[in-house]
């Protein structure tokens, strides 16, 4: 196979359990985002726009949606004669078969794939972040520093450092200390989960990591600390633009809302850095005579006859007359019936909200409800019907599994 300077390995096998019912049937990178995209579009588009032509997508949890979505990678211009995109699930080999045990093990199990391309550098990426980044600049930085590994970092608020791996660096950007999810952080430079490794060093450390029975085979927990201990030259690459981990209901909702700011930090409409996605060609959206749209992002194929304020509405959604959708994220193919109300909610794909149904309403005084989301975001599963008689209290996370026990007092 033709030699490639860089091979990207995109970790897309995570369950994303903190997204709850939104990832019951699909992996986190396949969750719809931003009115027409799926989360993985951002990373795949970054690869394509950065000139990276060989990308391995490592899948494990609920891969079907992701597999058919990625296809042969044409949407991202990654259908190449050599390289291109390859979907890499775990497979059986002569020593037997095992699932990916951790991020590092997932790459370890695919070292043969990397070796096929005989690269100089391996770029490790996560499929669950929203950002636009030119990886080629980071690779030049890596080369310039003569690093064994370069880790992309972003300053985060000090009170959030406990959620990240944080780096302490010297004046030259060399990493001198690394703390994984520290209680007391020495730096607020958080790892973005974007690494450039020299392929030779990566091989050595992955093999050593695999040989260690006590390792949890994770880049952040094991491989990076081992390399630091081994005295390898490790550098931090500071990224100052928009970057968001959308691993929770709150952050998914917030990142969608970030897009409807008057001057969004992340510009989707950038002809120099397009975000590609697999399109099912739908007609332009039709905004009816009585529609009322304000501060909203709206995808193709929508029919809007009602009121939509401060929301992100995905492709192929219908919002009927008299319906009101506010502060919400409405995923593809949803139907909101006449007079229905949707406040601060995330509605899963192809769900039907029948006429008159009310979602995200305040609890009545003294009403006993099980609130799952402290920020008051109501979440409705995909492919369900919210009947017109239903009144769903703010902060409820509603899945069809809970439907039979859905308490009568919440149905008005």
């Amino acid at each position: 196979m033709q030699k490639k300077e860089v091979v990207a390995m995109l970790l897309a096998g995570g369950q994303g359990s903190r997204l709850g019912i939104l990832t019951k049937k699909l992996a986190k990178p396949a969750v719809p985002f931003g009115g027409k995209y799926r989360i993985i579009d951002f990373t795949l588009s970054n690869c394509s726009n950065s000139g990276i032509e060989s990308v391995g997508v490592l899948t494990q949890y609920q891969p079907l949606t992701l597999n058919s979505y990625i296809g042969i990678g044409s949407a991202w211009d990654l259908d190449r004669n050599t390289g291109g995109v390859s979907v890499l699930p775990p497979y059986v080999r002569d020593q037997g078969a095992e699932w990916y045990k951790g991020t590092a093990n997932a790459v370890y199990q695919n070292m043969d794939f990397i070796a096929q391309h005989d690269p100089e550098y391996v770029l490790i990426l996560s499929g669950d972040h929203i950002y636009k980044m030119d990886y080629s600049k980071m690779i030049s930085y890596h080369k310039g520093k003569g690093a064994a590994v370069t880790i992309a970092v972003i300053p985060v608020p000090w009170e959030e450092t406990h959620r990240f791996g944080v780096m302490k660096t010297d004046d030259d950007g060399r990493i001198i200390e690394f703390q994984e999810k520290p209680k007391i952080a020495k730096s607020n430079l958080a790892s973005m989960g974007v690494y450039v490794f020299n392929w030779k060093e990566l091989q050595l450390y992955l093999e050593a990591d695999e040989a260690d029975p006590n390792s949890s085979n994770d880049f952040g927990k094991n491989v990076i600390p081992a390399m630091l201990q081994g005295g390898e030259p490790m550098y931090a690459y500071a990224f100052r633009e928009y970057w968001k981990d959308v691993g929770t209901i709150d952050s998914l909702w917030e990142a969608n809302m970030d897009l409807i700011a008057k001057q969004p930090e992340l510009r989707l409409n950038d002809s120099k850095w397009k975000i590609f996605s697999l399109n099912q060609t739908l007609p332009p959206q039709l905004v009816g005579p009585g529609a009322d749209l304000q501060s909203t992002l709206l995808g193709d194929g929508c029919l809007i006859l009602g009121k939509v304020h401060h929301s992100v509405i995905f492709t192929g959604t219908r919002i009927e007359e008299g319906a009101e959708v506010v502060d919400s994220v409405v995923m593809p193919g949803v139907h909101v019936g006449k007079g229905a109300v949707v406040h601060k909610a995330i509605i899963g794909e192809n769900t039907i909200v029948e006429a008159g149904a009310r979602i995200g309403v305040p609890a009545k005084p003294g009403e006993q409800v099980e609130i799952s989301n402290e920020s008051g975001i109501t979440v409705i599963e995909d492919n369900v019907t919210v009947r017109s008689s239903m009144r769903i209290v703010r902060g409820t996370v509603l899945s069809v599994a809970a439907w039979p026990e859905f308490p009568e007092e919440r149905i008005s």
Binding site: G34, G35, K36, S74, A75, I260, K262, L268, N269, K274, I275, F276, S277, N279, Q280, T281, L282, P283, P284, Q285, L286, V287, G288, P289, G290, A291, L293, Q294, S295, T296, L297, L298, G299, D300, G301, L303, L305, V312
Partner: protein
């Protein structure tokens, strides 16, 4: 429909469309926010599972090639069959500059010969509709017809400056065909779509092109009306014949009716087009948008009423667009007011300008112009 070959004719007249067809063949005229006219014919064919489509290229086809590329968006980039571009001869036998569909078919006779399909649907691309050709072929076979012409029953012939009327007997057989008759003889209007055996098509092409005839329908089929078994197949539903600026504007505005939008874009399948990867539409605070069709990549802060915006149009605060069609990437200065206007692609309107046309005669600003 493995047994059906699709042939798209681009040789229809475009004079009525004025500036919109100056630089492009009819099939490449932009329509409905993100499409070009050929998208409807191509998609209808593909939705009927036709997997071999030949496109008879005439003149001004540059923008069309840029649009259809290798046919990938219609799933027609195939190892076997797929999309074939059939260029006209550079010089016709009669020495005329622009070729006709008969000379073009003759020029590409080898393609017809080697296509494996037994039947062919031959269609222009000036009619926008969502049609199921499988049903039309079933009718053709059931009637054991030589040729089936597809028509639509209409009540408003008065709106049509040019049309072909079809008169049928009780059994569905066509007994008379007339071009632009002065007196109304039938309300059945031919949609410039017909089905016939490929072998018969080749015979007609051989015979009539050798006799210097130019047009397949009027010069090779109409004269054979009495000897061939020609049947009429009625296509019911929304039909828009685009043959004048007025009809272009009218059928564009019809898209603002949810029933038309739904039928035309979803009935027997989606209408595919070139994908541009534009972002979803941004509606900012203070915008006023009603009764409009908006394509992706637009950002709206001003007023848009009863209008169609193509991809990537920015409507700043104070801009007012009413009863207008604004094509791709128009640049509208602050305070611009448009009413009954059609802006072609990449037009610039400087700040403060007001352009007003008439509903029956919209103003057209041609491609790349600056006002």
């Amino acid at each position: 429909m493995r047994n059906l070959l699709g042939i798209i004719d681009l040789a229809e007249p475009t004079e009525g469309l004025g500036g919109l067809a100056d630089h492009r063949t009819l099939g490449a005229v932009p329509f409905g926010g993100r499409y070009r006219l050929i998208d409807f014919t191509l998609s209808n064919m593909v939705n009927a599972r036709i997997r071999n489509v030949g496109i008879l290229l005439n003149d001004r086809f540059g923008p069309l090639l840029d649009h259809i590329k290798d046919g990938k968006e219609w799933d027609l980039n195939r190892q076997r069959d797929g999309m074939f571009l059939l260029p006209a001869p550079s010089r016709t036998d009669s020495g005329e500059g622009i070729s006709s569909n008969l000379s073009n078919l003759r020029h590409n006779r080898a393609y017809l010969e080697k296509s494996r399909q037994e039947y062919a649907v031959f269609s222009g691309c000036g009619v926008i509709t969502n049609i199921d050709y499988r049903d039309a072929l079933a009718y053709h076979l059931e009637k054991q017809a030589d040729i089936t012409v597809i028509y639509n029953q209409t009540n408003n012939l008065a709106d049509n400056p040019s049309y072909t009327a079809v008169v049928m007997g009780d059994d569905g057989r066509v007994v008379d065909i007339a071009l632009n008759p002065q007196q109304c003889i039938s309300q059945k209007v031919f949609l410039n779509m017909l089905i016939l055996r490929k072998g018969l098509l080749i015979d007609l092409v051989d015979h009539y092109s050798a006799r210097q005839k130019r047009d397949l329908f009027t010069e090779a089929i109409m004269p054979r009306l009495s000897e061939l078994r020609i049947y009429g197949y009625e296509h019911t539903g929304y039909v828009g014949a685009i043959n004048s600026l007025r009809s272009y504007y009218q059928h564009s505005m019809d898209l603002l009716r949810p029933d038309v939008w739904q039928e035309l874009f979803f009935r027997y399948g989606h209408i595919n087009t070139k994908v541009k990867h534009e972002a979803p539409v941004r509606y900012l605070d203070g915008c006023r948008v009603s009764n409009s069709l908006i394509a992706t990549g637009c950002t709206i802060e001003g007023t848009v009423e009863n209008s169609i915006l193509f991809r990537g149009v920015e409507v700043g605060p104070g801009v007012m667009i009413k009863d207008s069609i604004v094509m791709q990437k128009a640049k509208l200065g602050s305070g611009v007011t448009l009413k009954n206007v059609i802006l072609d692609k990449d037009v610039t309107i400087s700040a403060g300008k007001t352009l007003t046309g008439d509903p029956s005669f919209p103003i057209v600003i041609s491609k790349l112009a600056t006002v």
